[in-house]
Point group: C2
Chain length 125, copies 2
């Protein structure tokens, strides 16, 4: 894999964000530094980085892939009202039980749904 300025930029953007941006959002950020960068380049590199396990993908109900630069074991909480994605601490509870079935776990995606604090308060008011 050759070096490319564009890929380094995309990697930096994801690794330095604590939200879970879509390709389009990353494209927007990238254009601030690299105005001519192509959306296709963003998608191609996101897929590359995901294949290399440099980043994680989250398939959500908004039909867009969200990317996460934090590859440590952790799960996510998605607000069912606003769709906001919040990082949760490492759960990793049942894997042992699952491996007793003969299934070897190489990754996990654990998502909980509900209202985030902001939206829960909104509803009350």
């Amino acid at each position: 894999m050759r070096y490319s300025r564009q890929r380094e930029l995309i990697t930096d953007i994801i690794k330095n964000r604590c939200d879970h941006p879509t390709a389009d959002m990353i494209y927007g950020s990238a254009r601030e530094m690299e105005p001519n960068i192509s959306l296709g380049t963003v998608y191609r590199n996101l897929k590359l980085l995901a294949d290399e396990k440099e980043i994680i993908t989250l398939e959500t109900e908004d039909k867009k892939i969200h990317y996460d630069g934090d590859t440590s074991r952790h799960s996510h909480f998605i607000c069912s009202k606003c769709g906001n994605i919040i990082d949760l601490f490492k759960p990793a509870k049942t894997p042992a039980e699952i491996e007793e079935l003969g299934l070897s776990i190489t990754g996990e995606k654990c998502i909980y749904y509900g209202l985030c604090n902001l939206c829960a308060n909104e509803t009350i008011e």
Copy 2:
């Protein structure tokens, strides 16, 4: 919500399958009973049933929505080779911990990835 023969058929199909079919697969099954049923009808009713929480959706890496007629708390194991989806027992371990953060959980999606038994054996041979 009015009764419709098509919706009943779609509901029956999902509830009586233990796999996690896509809209297209359900459409295929439905056409065996109802040859003129429309793909749009299948999609519309799947969305309706999901909104009513009669069924569950699974957003996976194959970019297709998979549907699950079992709405009881359970998680899924997806083979990263063949994409096969296997039901797992109820994990539901950390919700209490999560709710301590002030987040109220109304649903969860917990997916583990790895090789299913079939694919694991294939690799060895």
